[in-house]
Symmetry: D2
Subunit: 351 residues, 4 copies
């Protein structure tokens, strides 16, 4: 058994990893931190946990909160984890950060990301960047196995990267003209109430947002570029609609002449043949975002529009699972050498 600490336990990311850890066979949650809710019982904040976890959220500054834990999850806003990680690493913890703070290996690439968020562009722990690993086991499993610090990917990024990785690796699409049309459920915006996601404004309402440029683009271009060994440029649209959990990203890339749907399907199936959380389907299969709801799966439907020469991949994940807490637990499993599916081996429930 290892011990765990969750910083930011009150938010959706925090409660998500807590729910998962409570049924993980190898982990005991020992410390809950959530600055806005210090002193509250987590089961008062989240009544569904009553009987499963009735711990108090404690003050981050107390000695109790500082006790070393084997794994530390930082479900904190951008620019918070970068200030806290070193101290936890110094105490021997493995650290998984949910924000963009450790998704980049250089101060320059971090700065580009921060710019898109209108955040300060300098990084507070530049020395940690080279050793942090991008937390997508499907592409970085080996590096993660030897690492102590993982930057959990952005939710949109997971859906786009997994949807395009085989095509990028095989260099079968025009890597300068990719279009990622992404739709997310509203839980991706977090638990703080705001006018856009007030129920009366959100039901029966879909809209594009942040048309000026979304920060997840950086990760996707970087990861696809690494696979293709060339620069990748893509157009990305973020859209939100009246669903709580779920991302559907529709991904378009021009294929070279002669690249048939059959070949592409084979390529995708081969690429993911050993992956426990990626399922590949052809265009005749009717699947929807609810089929991955509350699970760690990424479902892909892969097709080529032969009339127009466009590869079209529809990529489905649960933004709070494979897009956040599920990915974090999968990363933890890899970092510690546990069975990679431990605690994540669930089908979800229908309807």
């Amino acid at each position: 058994m290892i011990t765990a600490k969750i910083i930011g336990a009150g938010g959706y990311g925090g409660v998500g990893i807590l729910e998962l850890l409570l049924s993980h066979p190898e982990v005991e949650v020992k410390t809950l931190i959530s600055p806005g809710s210090t002193g509250e019982n987590i089961a008062v904040l989240h009544p569904h946990l009553d009987g499963f976890c009735n711990m108090d959220i404690i003050d981050a500054e107390t000695p109790e909160a500082q006790e070393p834990r084997d794994v530390v999850f930082m479900s904190t806003p951008d620019r918070v984890g970068m200030k806290l990680a070193q101290a936890e690493l110094d105490k021997g913890a493995k650290v998984i950060d949910f924000s963009g703070d450790f998704r980049f290996n250089s101060v320059d690439s971090y700065a580009e990301y921060a710019r898109r968020l209108d955040k300060e562009t300098s990084h507070d722990s530049p020395g940690l960047l080279p050793e942090s690993v991008y937390g997508l086991p499907e592409l970085h499993r080996d590096e993660l196995q030897g690492s102590n610090l993982a930057g959990n990917p952005g939710c949109f990024a997971v859906s786009c990267i997994l949807g395009l990785a085989p095509a990028a690796k095989a260099n079968i699409i025009d890597l300068k003209g990719i279009i990622c049309d992404c739709k997310t459920g509203v839980s991706g915006a977090g638990k703080t109430p705001n006018p856009l996601h007030h129920y009366p404004n959100r039901y029966e309402n879909m809209n594009a947002y942040r048309l000026t440029g979304h920060q997840h683009v950086c990760e996707v271009e970087r990861e696809l570029g690494l696979l293709a060994n060339t620069e990748v440029t893509l157009t990305f649209t973020a859209q939100v609609l009246p669903i709580c959990r779920g991302i559907m990203s529709t991904l378009y890339g021009r294929v070279a002449p002669g690249v048939t749907e059959e070949k592409v399907l084979e390529l995708y199936r081969d690429f993911y043949k050993n992956e426990p959380f990626v399922r590949v389907y052809d265009k005749n299969k009717t699947i929807g975002s609810h089929h991955v709801r509350c699970t760690n799966f990424c479902n892909l439907t892969v097709s080529v529009d032969e009339r127009t020469g466009i590869l079209r991949v529809v990529s489905y994940i649960d933004n709070l699972m494979k897009g956040q807490a599920g990915a974090a637990m999968q990363n933890m499993n890899v970092l510690f050498g546990f069975e990679e599916t431990a605690g994540l081996d669930r089908s979800g429930m229908q309807p």
Copy 2:
């Protein structure tokens, strides 16, 4: 390990018990029957099961389908299970039926139930009625332990009975004037598409239905009557609203003078103090149906309106869990002497 057979695996009740059994430590599902889907792979019918259960649904008439299993779940329409139960019992199975077929111990009480459904009122296996047990462990645990045949309760009935049992037992309310105002999510109506639950007709729409008399009334009156040792009459309203999973039943009964909220709360807490799946709260606690979603819990808020002398209990369950498949698995655990919470020990996920 015991083996299981599910009859009616294609419907919501069937897929619900299948999902649960797939993660039960003591059960292996061996046979899936679903008359409308014979020959289909269950993971084609329910893509979220892909990788978890890829069995074919088989023809009920084949020898393979007739092999004896330790437990048989009959998630079948009313008047189907009554025809099938004896043969399964004869092969040594324990049987759990999801319909009203085995909720009653006499042909007369069954007939009264059937009348409300506009069904034929004669029972095809009258000999089994005396030995069948009403599948609500909170009230019939001892009988279930020695039984081979359980009649899983109606979903509304579970919420009403658990919400009123302590008051009925203690005889603190007027048992002739109870009002049960019940609201259900639409999954309670099953998976067959119909105009009332076509998305465009159901979103932004709530309505009362079957105002002529709902069949679940019989179970509630019978169970409360057994507890109170007197006849119980209640007014019941079924209402449906744009939620998939969930029942909220608001229950009203006139209390005798001097019965205070404090005393009633104590009574309820005491009644349920050893129950793993019932949680009692006071009126200051804000809980909602989502706090029991995808779980086997029944949450109750108990209060007395002192101005009017009315006990008001708000009872929340997930109609597909404590109201159906969860209850069935809890019953199985009791019938076989497994840990009662085995496979049901889950908090649900938020949001």
Copy 3:
């Protein structure tokens, strides 16, 4: 043509009456006030109005804002209208207030209401209370015709009063034991975002709230008491569910022996036979809240459970129309002697 001023134009009540007035043949909106949005264009705040109303919201303290208008709508929080009404009346306006400030004719009955809201109980314009009229034309049409000041009813209250008025007037139910089980869409809570109505917390979630006592009870008991000429006591439960617009109130009262469903239906149909906005149905009619969505109608299904002797009325309104802005416009029509249905003669749209 008359001129109108809306105070509180930015909220749901304000934009609701604005939408309606824009298509009223006799009214021109001249002044928009909304303290939180001064200086903004109403079509920026509410983009659906672009091209229909592109007026600026102005500062309430400017001379322009003080210009006399024929009708003033105060869609303001409790205890605001009571401070503003006299000045508008002095300028010759007729005033319709949306809060509880003018729903009561005495300081004592106001105080009882305010207590339930945990508000200060003294009234700032006690002199206006005797001349204010409760804005429910179905019961107070004559008084409204001669009045300058109407207190628009509470949304729940409208549904309960219209649902029980014929029974109270005819004295056919036990007026001490009425139960009002009320369900509302979330727009009733207004436009300010809050955790309970944040989309991820509200979808798939229904809950009872304010179990300690809801303020609308006062109006309902008073109005039914006036009709019955006796004191009325009722138990009221407020519940909220994932619908934006709509109230469904299920109302229960014990009938005297011999009161048949047939007689009660006749009574209701007769009571409302000349009312343009109330429709009465029997229990075999399947109607839902969507059938009154975006309209000023109140639909009632009336039945008697002969087994238990309970009258059950299900009352449906749109909380933002007959429960708020629609009622306000109907009141304006009556106050000014316009056709009562002017601007409200719409069926709504399906689906």
Copy 4:
């Protein structure tokens, strides 16, 4: 006053045009036909119409049903209107067909459309095709003014064509590489219940469908081709999500170097400057599909991603209004020379 007949009055298209006609100042609805509901009162089928329209649906074969009407709306499935139109035209009616039957001017282009629907490809009234006009007044107003037969456009097509028309006309995008990523509410699939749109399967669920090729592509390519005077090829994805009313189409095209966002915005604003139902916004404006709900508007946000050289237009309509019944009424207004906005001059209601 002119008289109207609606064939297919029971479906969403039929009830939609009926609702609109009931408040049109120049039209009286005289005949309702709906094969599946002959003999029923329309207000029983659609209770929200009770008091507004209580006509019976009559048998199409009776003399009464055959009486000549000035305008005939055929809200019928593909391949029905083509059999009925001539007879109505012969009686002097102007005819507006909601299906694809009269959207094409040649048997060849119709055949291509029918192929995508897996329908028979021959046309039953080839002689009418040359005189039918595509019912999009923004592009075909002049032709419609002299016509007796309009083919109402497909809902997706309206959103795509209006979103790309200015760019196509000005030839500023690569017309061989357009991508249309379209999302629709479920009412687009009509009123017949089916598993995909059964509430429990549709809530919390979005999915792409008909990935094999959508029939609306033909209209869009044809119309854009006419504007650009060249062949147009586009990749089209249809997606459905838990909304009842609304289409959001996100449209992508590669712009020539030097084409700035500023110029494109100016181009769009100029193109639509006299159009009563198209509103153009820049990317900083947050609008959503709810802002056009229940209205005949098309809202567009227009931007150029300068990093990638992609024009991105987000196009919002209500699929049942500008995408169906609203468009039909706008067409009627043009065909008869009424004020084009008559009966459509409504802002919608929020929230």
